[in-house]
Amino acid sequence: MSDKSNDQRRDPGADPQPTDLARRRFLQRLGVTALAAGATASAPAWGGSTLGDAFADFFQDHYQRMDADEVKETLARIERKAKRRYGVDIDCKDTPAIPGVVFGYAINISKCRGYRDCVHACVEENNLSRDTQYIRVVEMHHGSLNLHEGDHYYQGTVPEPGKYYLPMQCMQCDNPPCVKACPVEATWMEQDGVVVVDYDWCIGCRYCMAACPYQARHFNWGDPDLPPGEINPDTHFLGNRPRPKGVVEKCHFCLQRTREGRMPACQEACPTGARIFGNLLDPNSEIRYVLENRAVFRLKEELGTEPKFWYFRDV
């Protein structure tokens, strides 16, 4: 099952080129040598050799071009790196998209009280650097939908009278300008509609950040500030695995959870039930009910980015 969906994910156009095969054979030999070096050297507790891993890191292929073996080796290497760097045993998986599922989100802004529980749950779930937040809740004046007039850094007791709260995160655009912008195809939209980043392929040019109309992309300006004791060990290659410095990251609808049928951390954390997450292709899903029965809107719809992220009000 997993092999089959792996094939689904593969880029058919890029595969059978001779240069590609030669390179792959070369990389495989490299991997073998690296493993051998790991076995013969001091054999540290986490297995594998640092030098071999560094070498394999450098030559690591684009995720969509890896075969099943390469993915397996890469995931193991990521786990070893986390152990070395943070002293934590993580599990890194690459659960593929569930066929027939496209994720969407709808926020009930009359229920959101601005508690920011979603923001903090997201930080913990997704192993975010403690100076980065995927979710931004903006305190807005009643009577205005102008983001420029909102308060992005509100403090004190919420909800404040006369204010409402607008949570923003990656809109998972169906026509994502960031994907177009990337010069190395390090970011793309998955089968389930989630725009992901291969953190090991990104060159850190930040053109995607210039292209994103929603300020949804975040750069690792330095080494992520991630307290080892707070690491979530349940990680996904395209999701919440520990990130290196110098690359861009973004909200990925908690792939590590949602591809296994769970809700994203922000949805679970919300105490008011303002967050509706689900499968847009399932006519019986709650999100489909909202889209079909409520007056919904999307941010900057005029740009044609087709966000899969809606807002609505009760009444």
Binding site: R136, L147, P183, I203, Y207, A210, A211, C212, P213, K245
Partner: protein
């Protein structure tokens, strides 16, 4: 120059080793002033290198850039330099298309400037990368090059192509002169024509790089590419006028006054067009001010008490205005001192106007309305100075080797050292 030569080796039917050696010998031979200049540049490069090392080891956190203003001083310099590189056509077109022989004698210096400027532009992008170790991901085949989707991929293609074209043309011409023969027009003319269109393309693509982003309304204007090219034809000729005068002072390379005058007129007309374009943009932005005009408001007037860029842009516009006046009034332009002042004002004015004054307001306010101001810090300035040092050093070394060949003083063994263009003028 030494970078270019190995790839040319097979094409050039000339004593290549000797050519290289002679060139190197010229670069290593000079008076005290020459060495003082080279040492200064090497010192700049060394300091810049140290700050780049710090940036590499700690990450771009050493810069003042943020998630809100995610491009800064580096990309500002990059944008300016692509324009300088493109401006070489302002010598190539009259020299090769209109057969102006006076300009033909200095066209090689224009190419040399273009080569240095493109290399600097590329370096400014490289130091802006979070992961320069992964730059091979751009190579088609072993990497994944998002061409033709990504405008940045287009920029990689056109900049490297332009560098290559200029290297080929300069190398062919200089190697012919080295052997004491005239370059054959039918060989290099096709390259020259391609290079002329290519020069326009590098700056157009760089403008599209910005104007493609419909989420950032300050950049999302159709006038951007024409405006970029107009201002490039201000700053490029201005730099050439200054550079050519320096070359004339320190060497016996013939720089006819008619060439300087040609460049001064190009600069003046381009300045007039640039100011017109700026005015057209200001009118459109401010007559009925929409939300998209907030960046322009921030730049020119300040926004909610944030006004870091206001003095920059007004001084830039004042400089461009004064330069335009000097250039437009003939008696003023004909005074060398005033012309030089106009050139300096133009270079600085354009550097601000399309650098800090263009790149930064695209990010302020952010696409979701935050106002984060930006100014470069010491690290960014030092790394940038290092890159300018590299560019100036490349120009210096290439010019140092090329001038004696162009003057007919340096020839391949066995070739008579006659036909001295420096003597005929």
């Amino acid at each position: 120059m030494s970078e270019a030569m190995p790839e040319q080796q097979t094409r050039a039917p000339l004593p290549f080793g000797r050519f290289l050696l002679d060139g190197l010998r010229q670069m290593l031979r000079g008076n005290a002033a020459y060495w003082a200049w080279v040492t200064l540049l090497l010192a700049l490069i060394g300091i810049g290198g140290w700050y780049y090392y710090l940036q590499l080891s700690q990450g771009l956190v050493t810069t003042n850039m943020t998630n809100q203003v995610s491009w800064g001083f580096y990309i500002a310099n990059f944008t300016f330099l692509v324009g300088v590189a493109a401006a070489a056509v302002m010598l190539a077109i009259p020299a090769y298309i209109f057969h102006r022989d006076d300009i033909k004698t200095v066209v090689l210096m224009g190419d040399t400037m273009a080569i240095s400027a493109v290399i600097m532009a590329i370096l400014f992008v490289v130091v802006d990368l979070g992961r320069p170790d992964r730059i091979w991901h751009l190579l088609p085949g072993i990497g994944r090059f998002n061409f033709p989707e990504s405008m940045l991929a287009w920029d990689v293609v056109v900049l490297n192509g332009y560098l290559l074209l200029n290297l080929v043309i300069s190398f062919y011409i200089i190697s012919c002169h080295y052997r004491g023969c005239e370059p054959k027009l039918r060989f290099y003319f096709p390259f020259v024509v391609v290079a002329i269109f290519w020069a326009i393309s590098i700056h157009t693509v760089t403008a599209f790089l910005f104007s493609a982003n419909h989420g950032r309304e300050y950049w999302h204007h159709a006038i951007l590419a024409p405006r970029f090219i107009a201002s490039a034809f201000c700053s490029g000729p201005a730099l050439m006028i200054l550079g050519l005068q320096i070359i004339r002072r320190i060497s016996n390379y013939p720089i006819p006054w008619s060439v300087i005058n040609h460049l001064a007129i190009v600069m003046t007309v381009s300045l007039q067009i640039t100011l017109f374009f700026v005015a057209a943009e200001l009118f459109t932005e401010f007559y009925n001010e929409s939300e998209g005009a907030m960046s322009g408001h921030y730049l020119f007037l300040g926004l909610n008490g944030h006004d870091a860029l206001v003095p920059w842009i007004w001084s830039a516009l004042a400089m461009l205005g004064v330069a335009t006046l000097i250039g437009t009034i003939h008696p003023l332009r004909r005074k060398v001192m005033l012309l030089n002042i106009a050139c300096v004002l133009t270079v600085i004015g354009v550097w601000i106007e399309k650098g800090m004054g263009f790149v930064i307001p695209g990010f302020v306010p952010s696409t979701i309305g935050e106002i984060h101001e930006y100014a470069p810090n010491l690290h960014e300035v030092m790394v940038s100075l290092g890159i300018w040092g590299i560019g100036l050093l490349i120009f210096t070394l290439m010019a140092k080797a090329a001038i004696p060949i162009e003057c007919g003083e340096l020839r391949a063994p066995g070739v008579k050292a006659g036909k001295n263009i420096c003597a005929t003028d």
